[in-house]
């Protein structure tokens, strides 16, 4: 409770702050963060997992053996101190703000978890003659840094020159992508697999996310993120190759076992689907609430064409052919479902697609035409095989032993890579610009000579094709295909992934899908509350960061009102997914 009070107090406090307060505040915060990292965090022994060992009094025996989340607090605190006293740091205010939020998030997550485990505030304060104020000091430190940053001046994000010799640019890109690979691998494995035997997975993972968020925010404030993305735009071919190599190298990192390969493959499947949905919702602005049905269609088609014993259609096609057919059939059905878009707009379109999704689920559940197996699902879909090697077997490449399932992972990486390469420039293509024009104002787009009907159906077709392809891979990887995997909630989750990542950007869709489909793996212990938290998260994202984590530049301006004036309401009204048609309705007049 104290934490919450302090937190809510910060807003009122913020108004009385002057720039002169900035330096003392951030310096104090930085020192406190360092102190917090060296203080004990719990007053009791939590068992013998990774988390408690790092969080008990035993730590006093070796005060500098700080590791895990406390190491992160220490490093972020030191970084804050350095930035505070190096006056020339570009984008100093933003960097400090991000570091402060990072310290705050790590401390708060750990404090809440320890309090919950330890049965009350005593667990993070004092009990049995033992004191442990580490988490509280950490939370305060984080808030002080944030306050200090806000008291100072928030400069614009600096622009760095991309005019580098080729080798330097390549070097920077390689370093950046290897860093990303390292971050992804650590993130996947942070805390290990969630579950009853490892309840620490969730908090450790979340604290890690807090650290990663603080770090990336700080890099963004420095202008590094923007610089790297500008560099990769400039050297597109090279970056795609490096990115691909990095992704393929994931099995060689700490994430290289069968379990994480399976998780990574699933993420890849949902990422491919999210990219498809991103075309429909993010680019063309057609809100689709039944999108996962196309993935389901792809999965069931693939199941029926791959010689699964339980399938009704007993055709046994090689995987590439089955996958292509699955994608094509899903695409055609997508175009058919999309055809009402010619007449229906906005909210109503959302409902039509939702209705379609429900019809699909219900039909699949009732085993329509014997094609879907109903509640028995279609089990026993054979593994994909190349040259006698099934894709779920471990393999050895150039002397490196790779875990089972790694071939599926390679396949999905290549598929997602290919999709990204094809669609990366989509926004700027003729059809991409047509979609964006439709999203912004359909009537104006039509007046400009865009064939809106054709363009909208094409968006549905493209999106559904990608989902169908992803579904086919999904079915083979899981070796079973059940209607349970393609329900309304999955559609909402995919939509949330696209929105969380930032609508209209492909990396955003991949990022959103990764976060939303890793979290359940980590938070197994809290499975009971998973959906509740998901629902709350949807509400909070819409309230506080509707533009997502990696917003599209145009959309960022529209959604966050970052345009010059504060008068963004009218613009925002136009932005979205729907537009007035016919005469302005009751609320339609643009005031």
């Amino acid at each position: 409770m104290t934490i919450l009070n302090r937190f809510s107090g910060s807003g009122a406090l913020g108004r009385h702050l002057k720039p002169a307060h900035a330096k003392p505040l951030t310096a104090a915060g930085g020192v406190l963060a360092v102190v917090a990292a060296l203080l004990p965090w719990v007053t009791f022994l939590l068992g013998d997992g990774a988390y408690p060992a790092k969080a008990t009094l035993q730590f006093f025996d070796a005060p500098f053996a700080v590791e895990g989340y406390r190491l992160h607090v220490l490093l972020l605190g030191l970084a804050a101190l350095v930035v505070t006293f190096v006056a020339k740091t570009p984008g100093r205010g933003r960097v400090l703000r991000a570091l402060g939020w990072g310290v705050f998030a790590i401390s708060l997550i750990s404090a809440v978890f320890i309090t919950g485990r330890g049965g009350g505030l005593g667990a993070i304060t004092a009990a049995d003659g033992v004191t442990a104020f580490g988490s509280i000091v950490g939370v305060v430190a984080g808030l002080l840094i944030v306050l200090g940053a806000k008291a100072g001046h928030l400069d614009d994000i600096p622009e760095w020159s991309t005019d580098l010799p080729r080798w330097a640019a390549y070097l920077a890109l390689v370093v950046a992508f290897v860093g990303v690979l390292y971050l992804v691998a650590s993130m996947l494995t942070a805390g290990g697999t969630g579950g009853a035997s490892n309840p620490y997975a969730g908090p450790i993972f979340l604290a890690f996310l807090g650290m990663a968020g603080g770090l990336l925010g700080a890099l963004n404030g420095l202008g590094v993120v923007r610089w790297i993305s500008a560099l990769s735009e400039k050297h597109r071919a090279f970056s795609i190759v490096v990115l691909l190599v990095c992704a393929l190298a994931l099995p060689l990192t700490s994430a290289g076992n069968e379990y994480w390969m399976t998780v990574a493959t699933t993420i890849g499947v949902y990422a491919a689907t999210a990219i498809g949905l991103n075309i429909v919702v993010g680019l063309a602005g057609l809100l689709d609430l039944g999108y996962v049905a196309f993935m389901g269609i792809g999965a069931f088609v693939a199941a029926n064409l791959s010689g699964a014993a339980a399938a009704k259609v007993g055709i046994d096609l090689p995987f590439p052919l089955a996958a292509l057919l699955a994608a094509a059939i899903a695409g055609v059905i997508g175009a058919i479902v999309g055809s009402p878009t010619l007449r229906v707009r906005g909210d109503y379109l959302a409902i039509v697609t939702l209705a379609f999704g429900e019809i699909f689920t219900k039909s699949a559940q009732n085993n329509i035409g014997g094609l879907t197996g109903g509640s028995n699902a279609i089990p026993g879909i054979p593994n994909v095989e190349v040259a006698g090697t099934a894709f779920n077997e471990p393999i050895t490449v150039l002397g490196a032993d790779l875990p089972g399932g790694v071939l599926y992972y390679f396949m999905i990486v290549l598929v997602v890579g290919a999709i990204m390469a094809v669609f990366a420039n989509l926004k700027n293509s003729r059809i991409g610009r047509a979609w964006i024009a439709i999203r912004e104002d359909e009537d104006a787009a039509r007046a400009m000579g865009i064939k809106t009907g054709k363009a909208k159906i094409l968006a549905f077709l493209a999106g559904a094709t990608l989902a169908g392809l992803a579904g086919a891979i999904f079915a083979h990887k899981l070796s079973t295909s059940s209607y349970e995997s393609f329900k309304f909630l999955e559609s909402v989750t995919l939509l949330a992934a696209v929105i969380l990542g930032g609508m209209g950007t492909i990396p955003g869709a991949v990022l959103g899908a990764s976060l939303l489909f890793v979290l359940p793996e980590k938070l197994r212990e809290f499975d009971e509350y998973r959906l509740l938290v998901f629902g709350l998260a949807l509400i909070l994202i819409m309230r506080f960061r509707p533009q997502g984590l990696m917003p599209d530049r145009v959309r960022r301006a529209e959604l966050a009102g970052e345009t010059a004036g504060g008068k963004s309401i009218e613009e925002e009204e136009e932005l979205v997914v729907e537009h007035e048609h016919e005469a302005p309705g009751p609320k339609g007049g643009k005031a």
Partner: protein, 314 residues
Amino acid sequence: MTTLLQQLANGIALGATIGLIALGYTMVYGIIQLINFAHGEVFMVGAFGGLAVHRWVLPESFRENWYVSLPLMLLGGMAVAVAIALIMERFAYRPLRNAPRLAPLITALGVSIVLQEAIRIWFPNADSAQPFPKAFVDSQITIIGLGPDGPEGDVSIRASQLLLVVVSIILSVLLQSYINRSKMGRAMRATAQDPDTARLMGVNPDRVIVLTFVLGAALAGVAGVLYGVDITNVDNAIGFQNGIFAFTAAVLGGIGSLRGAVIGAFIIGLIKTLGGQYMWGGTQYDYVWIFVVLILVLVFRPQGLFGEAERVRA
């Protein structure tokens, strides 16, 4: 013939439930153009509110007499539903009043998930269907002699079904006259037509919007309790399904039109029961026919049966 009459009766009773929910959808949409996805969950929460009153508030002796327990349960259901609606309007929707339309729609989905999960987790044993007290005359009206096949040919209507239909019609009429006659009703109509001009005329739009949510939630609360009494068990999924039916009814009738919502609801109720009886696939697919109708209506007559063409804001 008997089957047909029986299904007609069932369909009308179902339509009465859906109608009460649909009124809330159509009012909110009429005023702020928000598809309040969570409205179905308000209905569900209302049912659980009534159940809670019966379980923990009413003394043993009251429970026996339906004319004591039912009104109290209705009050409890309404109170809970209204409280939830107020909270969600204030904290979820109001901050997004001027946001792009996608934002409140996603928020509504979030609210819907939160309410379902909150009931499942925190209402005792609500992870499975809960028995609901039959707090009404437990009898059936049997109409004999309509079928040629003797007693099996009878059409029977539960008293609770009749209650649903009667209450639903009375409340719709009351609501209609409130909106047409009262001062606040006029303010609501003005806001629906043109919020900016209404504000200039001294209407406080916040109050109107809150009132809209309260009225809709109260009706949904009544519907929830009466639904529970009729079906005699409830779970946390009744809101989603009936909510979608109600939304379909509101669209079918012409969203924004009260009369349309009620008539649309009866049509939807009949489609479900008759479709389940006579169409291909039987009751397993009754759900599907409703969505087929929804799609057809939206594609060919998006303004619905009673909507005015210019007011369609899709």
